[in-house]
Symmetry: C2
């Protein structure tokens, strides 16, 4: 079967295998793998930026590409409840490129890394027709802070750490060469991880994930792995006026960008009713025993059918 | 400056930075990074296979691509004196590919991984125009076994764990569509890491590296990082008759393949005179106080000028 028929989740089902080593606490299928290393718990992730897909050098500076490469990986470690520490950088570059690209890229990567106390400790270098930047990020997590996709419980509230849809709005404006709209464009060019938004109450979070492929897709991941359902309150999803204006400029709906866009890198997390007063964030839904995901808009509830960005669909 | 003028070593010099965190024992510039994690010492590496450069699906099966991806990374951990444990797999695939490729690839990766007690614990999936398989491999090393590129000392002997040049010979035959020569072709299609060849005497090895870009290039890395020179005894380099015959079939010199070819994944290591009786391998040279690399052939010594495969040259 062709990969574009199978889709991302189909491919992941194909390659999934239950971990054998008892030190592997989380294997394939979450934002990061989790392994016991002596008395520590390591969190390990990898994420790739592909030229023309995740960045375009006609509107990204090399420094912005470097920052993005680090931020999206930091976000994966943060969404496990962990703190990042060491990065390896695997680069595939075109032979005829100018070395200023590497200068800018590393400047951006180091600038982002330093914010989080991360150091680049190694990597690999090869050539290709398309630029690819693959980062491996290793961090550590305290056991009580570990928050898996499979940790949501019926009755949990679903919260999101910040506004959604802006990055996709920015991308659409770049693609249609529309001027202005600096807020959404900056959100697309300089996405940020958000450890500061959750780190004071990590122990009260059940499940957590970051928004890389749209809210609908992330809630679906949590529901599938926790074997639960969810109701999303569309009217509660935080969307900035700047995002609504930008979406309107390309005749689109900002809510669609929030649900099915991506690359916002805000955190989506579930919290029990008891612990709700101990956390912050925008309450945008609840976890239900009843399977499936429903969206509630203007007081009407209907099943959510689309599920966000798929690299192969 | 264009990357093809700068070359691989020029690019690495550009991006090198001395580690700040005292737990980083080895940073950018060796086969793998080495970090203290509690009471353990972690060894972390990453290596990428790019379609058309590191493999070609007209003569590689997907299973062979998978095996190669794991073996070359295991080889990097082994050349630090370590043992591999956990792998992450970052895939960039073409959308129109058939899922049988992924089946074969994972079959090959798991087959190779199991030999070494390695488990695949995670990864990333994206699409691109050119297939790329990036593996991150994490292992552990005992302090007394750690063998860095910078650990060679004047007076050390240089040894190699097995025959060289066969993989390059195999590649040349594939490119010229010459039939037969199964030994060298298999060496190209199914390279292997060789922990078993050194593991009984790791504590007696000073510097170590694996042959990925040709013997000359690897000896140069050891010399540069250990601030020493070397003499290579060309007549002692182990080259199989099959490799000589294959080289002859394309009017080439097998010694050139051994020195400047690559992907043999045999280990090159230096050992003091005192410890020489405790190790095995082919003695192919010695480390000298005098800088530069000289090659001794038919009793004549001359400076080594070429330096093996460069991805950007």
């Amino acid at each position: 079967m062709k990969l574009n028929k199978l889709g991302e989740s189909g491919i992941i089902k194909m390659i999934y295998q239950k971990p054998k080593d008892k030190n592997i606490l989380v294997g394939i299928g979450d934002d990061a793998a989790v392994v016991k290393i002596g008395k520590k718990i390591g969190v390990i992730t990898t994420d790739t930026l592909v030229e023309g897909d995740h960045f375009n050098l006609s509107y990204f500076t090399p420094e912005q590409v470097g920052m993005k490469a680090i931020e999206i990986n930091v976000s994966d470690i943060v969404s496990m409840g962990g703190a990042p520490k060491y990065a390896l950088v695997s680069l595939a570059l075109r032979k005829e490129m100018d070395s200023r690209f590497i200068d800018g890229l590393y400047k951006g990567m180091r600038k982002a890394a330093e914010k989080y106390g991360v150091e680049i400790i190694g990597g690999n270098l090869t050539h290709a027709n398309q630029i690819m930047i693959d980062i491996d990020l290793i961090g550590f997590v305290k056991k009580q802070n570990l928050s898996l996709r499979s940790d949501a419980k019926p009755g949990d509230f679903i919260l999101v750490s910040g506004d959604l849809g802006a990055s996709t709005a920015g991308l659409k404006l770049f693609l249609k060469r529309i001027k202005g709209h600096s807020y959404v464009k900056k959100k697309h060019l300089e996405p940020k991880a958000h450890p500061e938004k959750v780190q004071k109450f990590l122990q009260y979070i059940n499940a957590m994930i970051d928004v890389s492929d749209g809210l609908a897709s992330e809630v679906k991941h949590i529901c599938e792995q926790s074997i639960v359902g969810a109701t999303i309150y569309a009217d509660n999803i935080p969307i900035r006026d700047e995002t609504r204006k930008a979406a309107k400029a390309v005749n689109s709906d900002a809510l669609d960008y929030a649900l099915y866009g991506g690359e916002d890198f805000e955190l989506v997390y579930t919290v029990s009713e008891k612990n709700l007063p101990k956390v912050r964030g925008y309450l945008i839904g609840e976890i239900t025993k009843k399977k499936g995901i429903r969206i509630c808009k203007n007081g009407k509830e209907k099943p959510l059918k689309k599920h966000g960005y798929d690299h192969f669909a």
